[in-house]
Subunit: 240 residues, 2 copies
DNA sequence: CGATCCATTGAAGCCACTCAAGCCCGGTGG
DNA sequence: CCACCGGGCTTGAGTGGCTTCAATGGATCG
């Protein structure tokens, strides 16, 4: 990672940016902070599909939020398998696994054209000094990350791939809706189905077969890069 | 949970307590804090095996650290399965999944005679006001929890139960060694094997069979409530 | 000393993996 | 422009690991 080549001064408004929400919650907005002359967040990008944002073991000096695009974090297991630990959409915090050791535990890669907001720990310390409530904002957000990871682990333990996959799609639809504010039932898949397999701990073949089965049973419509959800996840018949 | 009946003033030293480590790291110790007249942590217990510390949905007003004993956190999935999200030994922080929503996401149950340290958010806010560095202590710890959860998720995706189980045992041995400071190779199992199954997403039958297989292959010695590790996890032959 | 929960072992079935082949698509270069 | 290539996706056949169902033994406890 050679951030120097990519550093772009923060210019456009981070309307969906988590950091902005933090600032607003303590009674500030980005403009005010800019006016104080303090550097707050830095917008970095674009990263292109397949490009690494950082690698496992790199020093972690900042927090990141996806500004636009999608990021995946992945690890190579000791026996060579590739495991994906998360997909991050616009507004999502990622890289928190590096906070403790000050080194990232995973690789982070853009899977489409992506910009991210960077908030360095140094800047954070300065800001938190002036606005102490910011700390509890971050603590709360980390709590949310933990609760999410636990929820993910839950669906991981469904041994039927049908359920894991429907759970994944339902979660993705939920998150897309959160961002669009629309009640759409269609997901634009930014990740490959192979990546979905790596995320769910399955093989691409099984994903393909299971999607076909779900389509035949009338739960989804599965086109090239889109999936339309026809029934709610909770109505899933395990026996199909 | 009826904490009022169990509240015991903090008396003995929390030598392994995470909170104490926080205080020490900002240049304090429990004695000094006690002298200021501030209530810091409250020691609660004993909880007996099978007793709930809190239930999913209960309001979360505090952070908890195991003082002595073992705690498990579990969730009932919508289809009735019981999933265990973690085992917590002396010194471990738990309940962090309740920070964001201010409600716990899981049930917490003692699996042996257990005491815990409670630090309420109110007390935390007071302390953090006087000693701002405490906040980053907690942030760092939450980062550790996140990194751990991600690591757990990794081993979850080993599809061979043999590997998941050996990984679990190796992790448990590592954590026991951390606490005892000894180079023992024996684990005293505080949880039932059924609980191990629920944690690993398997059935008790499979755990039983896999342990028998590992013993026959010379990797472990499996007695009633103890397991002795004979070989390192990394030397595990997948083909057994 | 019966009740209950945990643990173990056996037999049968099923789901997902492995191996293998072919298709589709975008990108590249002759 | 087309041939070639590579990666992702799909489909087929066979195998293996884990689950399910069932039954028994052991441990703890009121």
């Amino acid at each position: 990672m050679t951030p120097k080549l990519r550093l772009v001064k923060h210019r456009h408004r981070c309307t969906h940016c988590l950091f902005r929400r933090f600032f607003v919650n303590v009674g500030l907005n980005c403009d005010e902070i800019d006016q104080t002359g303090q550097t707050t967040t830095t917008n970095i990008g674009p990263y292109h599909p397949g490009e690494y944002l950082y690698r496992a073991g790199d020093p972690c000096n900042a927090l990141y939020v996806v500004h636009a695009g999608t990021v995946k974090t992945e690890t190579v297991t000791y026996d060579g398998d590739l495991h994906i630990s998360g997909f991050y959409l616009a507004g999502d915090l990622f890289g928190a696994d590096g906070i403790h050791q000050r080194r990232f535990a995973t690789d982070a890669m853009a899977i489409e054209k992506t910009w991210v907001c960077e908030l360095t720990f140094d800047n954070w310390a300065t800001l938190a000094n002036d606005y102490p409530d910011l700390q509890s904002q971050l603590i709360s957000e980390l709590g949310r990350v933990i609760a999410n990871k636990e929820h993910e682990a839950l669906s991981t333990h469904h041994h039927l791939l049908t359920q894991r996959l429907m759970g994944f799609l339902a979660d993705l639809l939920y998150r897309v809706r959160e961002r669009q504010g629309l009640q759409t039932n269609e997901i634009e898949l930014t990740m490959t189905k192979t990546d979905i397999a790596r995320y769910l701990g399955a093989t691409p073949e099984s994903i393909s077969r299971t999607l076909a089965k779900l389509e035949k049973a009338g739960y989804i419509v599965n086109t090239k890069r889109r999936i339309r959800i026809l029934k709610d996840y909770s109505s899933l018949d395990v026996a199909i």
